[in-house]
Amino acid sequence: MTNPAERVTNPAERVTNPGYNYAYLDEQTKRMVRRALLKAVAVPGYQVPFASREMPLPYGWGTGGIQVTASVIGPDDTLKVIDQGADDTTNAVSIRQFFARVAGVRTTERTAEATLIQTRHRVPETPLREGQILVYQVPLPEPLRKLEPRETETRRMHALSEYGLMSVKLYEDVTRHGRIATSYDYPVMVEERYVMAPSPTPKFDNPKMHRSPALQLFGAGREKRIYAVPPYTRVRSLDFDDYPFEVQEFDTPCALCGSSGVYLDEIITDDQGGKMFVCSDTDFCAQRVAAAGDSQGARDPQGAGGLQ
């Protein structure tokens, strides 16, 4: 039996994890992904097919985002990984450890310190700045998929900008429910050309994508698609003049840091109907608590408890 470590090509780059190339992917694969990324940046909102590889994490668990991150990461980067807005959810921990191991990269929980942020289901509350890259994990990149299951059809619809079906769907929502009944993965129009899935972020985060100074990259591993929103690109949530797009509003501020106008998690505290609302973005919450000093006492906002 051959020793797996001996099968790997580039001995110069075995430093971080013997047996694998820097950032796991081989250089040819990274080049292939970067070519797809360049095309995606050149045609904002367009889904570029790419030869997605099997990753050591399962499909549906962020393989697209991981391949994008692996292709753009370098030793000077500082990586932040969030899932549901939190740095310490299990899958975020797992992906952060993966890159710490295969890319030897510095990691952080601070949005402001990160050069590269991989996310699932949220855009950080702290505004992003120029030079930062936000990598989204995308399960279903096709915004029209629930309306038309066939890829051959949806590709044609995008080519012809034939988005009538989407308007009809939103209109049917209004007639049936009195409002557009999509609360996450809310479709957006990018640069008035391509309808795009923002990934399953709550629609609360859609406005943050509009003219963001950061580069936003989207990777869908299982579906083998990459797309992008370059900095300062227009991103408009689909709506009607008389039924304008609106985001979620919460009645109470965060129970830990007191922020309002942020996205909150509803935490069930007992079996008597007790609940509290706290920031979904753990870093934002911790920064706010720290800034408020110890007037609240030394509370450890989101580090309390945990899975054992």
């Binding site: 399962p58 499909y59 549906g60 668990w61 399960p139």
Partner: protein
Amino acid sequence: MYVAVKGGERAIANAHKLLAEERRGDPSVPELSVEQIASQLTIAVHRVMAEGSLYDPELAALAVKQARGDLIEAIFLLRAYRTTLPRLAYSLPLETGRMTVRRRISSTFKDVPGGQILGPTFDYTHRLLDFSLAATNGAAPAAEPGPADPPAAVPGVVDILDRQGLIEASAPADPERPIGDLTREPLNLPAERDLRLQNLARGDEGFLLSLAYSTQRGYGGSHPFVGELRVGEAAVEIEPPELGFPIEIGEITLTECQMVNQFKGSKSEPPQFTRGYGLVFGHCERKAMSMALVDRALRGRELGEEPNAPARDEEFVLMHSDNIQASGFTEHLKLPHHVDFQAELEQIRKMRRRAEEPSE
């Protein structure tokens, strides 16, 4: 007090320790060796190699051990390893007509040149639990040796027996057209037969079995016969450009199935028997036969058949055949989704408030 479903780092480390403990099982029972798995659970190892798309019995056996016998998990391990390997060379097309046949049957002809060879098969065993296997001291009775010099090459039944052209000829390869590889290029639809066959060869045995079965029950029927099913060892050759002639680099076990199907003809094609093809790493007859049936069902565009059944629907079959994609995405529902769930909660509360408001 608020206890978040967070703090994953320690939880993950502990979970992995528990997993290792469960994998080992009762420490008073001797540990399974990779060699034992490779030589005694061969069919499991073969399935892992076939769907893992990597011919390496030792690594596949290691994957089976690491995965605690969960074959889809083992296939995943092998795939994730395979994807990191460099491509050193491309082999020449395998000459399955020259393979050393250990088993070879045809149901379309009573006897065939080279003979029907039953070989090591579960067929015709009575499925009675053999309690003597529960004792571990038994050496298996030795099989009687075959003829001293078995036929060196046993050509394919279907190719040699149809001289009247009633069975369609195998399409010759087009040397101008490169053969697709869906592990290097994303699959674009509609796909040609090379990519369809590659997809099926890597596809989940259970999925293909059910699709094949559905064609037999009337969902896109193809009236099949097993023209030939063979299991044996074939040589793998490469032709390094600096040498200019082929050299043999090893031998792999393969299962090949040529399915022959009735075809009443269409606007473009005369009535004739048509073919479906299955080729799988290792000894995997069920998979090879299922693959051949589904391959035939997917040839509708070429033969003028309507895509009116699941097995005939190329996009449906090819997009859902991969068990690593399917299990990953199905099981990702275990990941936290509370941000989206919160969005839906808020939505449904608003909708209910609106429904409860007195109408004007």
